[in-house]
Amino acid sequence: MTELDPRAIGAPLERTDGRAKVTGTAAYAFEQPVADPLYVHPVQSTIARGRIRHVDTDTAADLEGVVAVLTHLNAPGLAEHDPELHVLQSPEIAFRGQPVAAVLAETPEIARHAAGLVRVDYEQEEHDVVLRADHPQLYAPEVVNPSFPTDTAEGDPEASAEVEVDHEYSTPMEHNNPMEPHATVAVWAGGHLTLHDSTQGVHKARSRLAPVLGLPEERIRVVSPHVGGGFGSKGTAHAHNVLAALAARVAGGRAVKLALTRQQMFDLVGHRTPTIQRVRLGADRDGRLSVVVHDVVEHTSKVQEFAEQTAVSTRTVYAAPNRRTSHRLAPLDVPVPFWMRAPGEAPGMFATEVAMDELAEACGLDPIELRLRNEPATDPSSGLPYSARNLAECLRAGAVRFGWEERDPRPASRWDGDWLVGLGVAAATYPRYYSPGSVAVIRFQGGRYLVRIGAADIGTGTRTALAQIAADALGCGFRDVLLELGDTDLPTATVEGGSSGLASWGATVVAAAERFRAEFGDDPADGAETSAETPEDPAGGTVATHSFGAHFAEARVNALTGEVRVPRMLGVFSVGRVVNPRTARSQLIGGMVMGLSAALHEHSVLDPRFGHVVNRDFAQYHVAAHADVADVEAFWLDEHDPHAGPSGGRGIGEIGIVGSPAAIANAVHHATGVRIRDLPITPDVLIR
């Protein structure tokens, strides 16, 4: 296993594309220059279940500037039946907001106007969109995302204990809402389809679309140089990609542009399932856990299953002789749920870490001390030793930095005018995923090293950090590396997901660099080129590789109004080696802010009568605004995890959101004495 000599690695370099982005010259998907484009606007179902009886497209089609109105009656056929992507192929309606037609027109305004003129007559059936813990159709999926066992059990999960806490927790439906709406520009030319798309993985998008469109992969090119965030929602192709491709097929060779509106994003690009979680913890009076039970009920779509792995983090974070985790899904008439930043860990660790706070209170223990007393020697999930289990160090370091020892443990003991003030803590864990299957090509050209890999930079800074790894692997200067990513014409790469990108692509680039030096030495000829695949996982099933973290939060709760403000958040993380401290800090505090947002704001309100999310814009679906975000600090332990790969890092995109909502909920409890087990914590739930 090669150890890199870190020179560029560890440097807080600015994003190489930073200037282009802040000056507005970085072209995102919708801005890709194409000649004389047409525009698509989808028409969405206004029922949640049933079928189309009749569509009247005449008025829309007669409008000047309308090129075509596609419906299930005239749209080009699709090949493979991929349920989520099977658009305009049948009259069946599976959720409200499903595309039932699409207008192709000379301008976006005409397309949108005409879309409003399409009349659809439905045969409506009763729908079911409400998740309940006793839903009659609950079932156990075969696995939960991506491939974890659905249920686990050890010992006697029903065993009693000296101290027990047993409660139900819930988290709401949420939507990813990246800043850049999903957008695609589709161009057919000579039997080839080009998609300028906003995606977390050009090759993944292509491999999903190719069979649906009935094309060999080599006849599709997906290009995605810049992505304005995704948070998982751009981790696969969605229905709008197919709509754009279908429209492009009837556009006579003209390019077709489709940008979803913010409102449409609430139906068409995935969401986080709501969860109902029961957590039962049992311990002796000293706080040593003997029982850990985490049973989850959540929803999926009847169209296509997605099983959020909500209880999986509980399997690895605390050991006990008697444990159980389970996941049950209610199939509903809702759009397909999908990845949203730390799917599973984010909602699951909210419940587990609030329950731990409750157990600490029941045992009369400091919540940090309770966690320290329950540090397992090996991974309770796999039985393997950890490459680095540094939760205790994160908790201790964070406690010092945050001033935890000054905390009076009694709830509701600190006032500042009308404001109650409290401090909370929670643990975080996130698995290190290592994704095989990428290829990197390195070519020496014009005195620089051209590194080519179809990876993605979704705003995280990968373009910069991956070049840092390449520079150290080649032993050259950072400026001697020219990195290309975001194009299926580049060597194949895995999707940006599970915080796996930089470590997996980094290992691939290092392998290519080593081979390059082996083949061409330190003084290569112009045009020297070689490639390598992602090497085998250096952890190799011999160690458990997880990241950890400790979140601290101060909450102020107005005793009159129930308003919650969070003046301070602090996280200490164990994530292996950090490649670029500047972009890493941004990822970590970004995750923490998203956790703050989940704790206090985010909630997609599904109206059971209509079957759709009604608060479908940024004025109504609240994410934390600048004024909500005060002092947020992220620190990390000085680490290098050789089992994680040559860069020594385990991934940082997601751990910031894991546990931070619990730290805030625990701080609210410490401030007020009121235990909130359901997110979000809005003023109405604290008003008495």
Partner: protein
Amino acid sequence: MIPFDYERPADVASAVAAVRRNPNAMFLAGGTNLVDHLKLGVAGPELLVDVSGLPLDEVAEQPDGRLRVGAAVRNSDLAAHPLVRRRFPVLAEALLAGASGQLRNAATTGGNLLQRTRCPYFQDISTPCNKRSPGAGCSAIGGHHRDMAVLGSSEHCVAAHPSDMAVAMSALDAVVRIQGMEGERSVELPEFHRLPGDEPHRDTVLQHGELITAVDLPGSAPRSTYRKVRDRASFAFALVSVAAVLEVEDGAVREVRLALGGVAHKPWRATRAEEVLRGGPAEESAFRAAAEEELADARPLAGNAFKVPLARKLITGVLRDLADQAGEER
């Protein structure tokens, strides 16, 4: 968005005439609300008459001491105006509590008064709404109504008025100056917006073609404040807000004016509470009793019942703080 014609008239009279001529014409000022409605299909005018360039953008003291705010004055400019900050802190605070910096830079005084409810069903043309389509039914009453009205609503509509500025202006006894074809008229702000009754599609007493030209602010209210409770610290509409003017003399309430936001189809002038308070002791128990009196007729729905205790506590707390300030300054 359906196609529309666009005119940019040179003066107020031609603007009024242009809208009056066409029953499907609308005035356009900052566009922060109307342009959204055009995109969403909530509004579909044949003609937009852009009044943002009319010479209505001055804030000027009148000979009788009133402060006249032109209808085209931007919210940001009004909030920053030295005379507003000195004479009417409640108004400056209310303006700054509204929307975001970018929106305040575009939004105008007249447009702010005429912004429409943010009820999700009103803004979604795929769901029934009496305000958008009279007689269609109200989706909010049996649906998501957490942000809706608790006072003065009807079986036809429970929408809440979203403005912060208008709540402060209601407490300040502002006067709306209106130009129509038949001449000018004035309406006191508390009478300018309507309760929904059985005509929820009518937000205000304006007739088609009437244009707001200015808002007059009489007197001054140096001891006044605006307090807004919302789901996040900025860029959110009020769950409940309170605009309060309070003068205390020898421990008694000499002058009080109180208006509530987020609780009704209009800025809610709390006249009952004012009556209870005026001349009485400036004490927390009196403030609470007045708040209770004002809220006695509240008819909340299941999902917004929290607004009643929230309003009670907020009114009490805001008056207490103003009274405490008065005490400290003496």
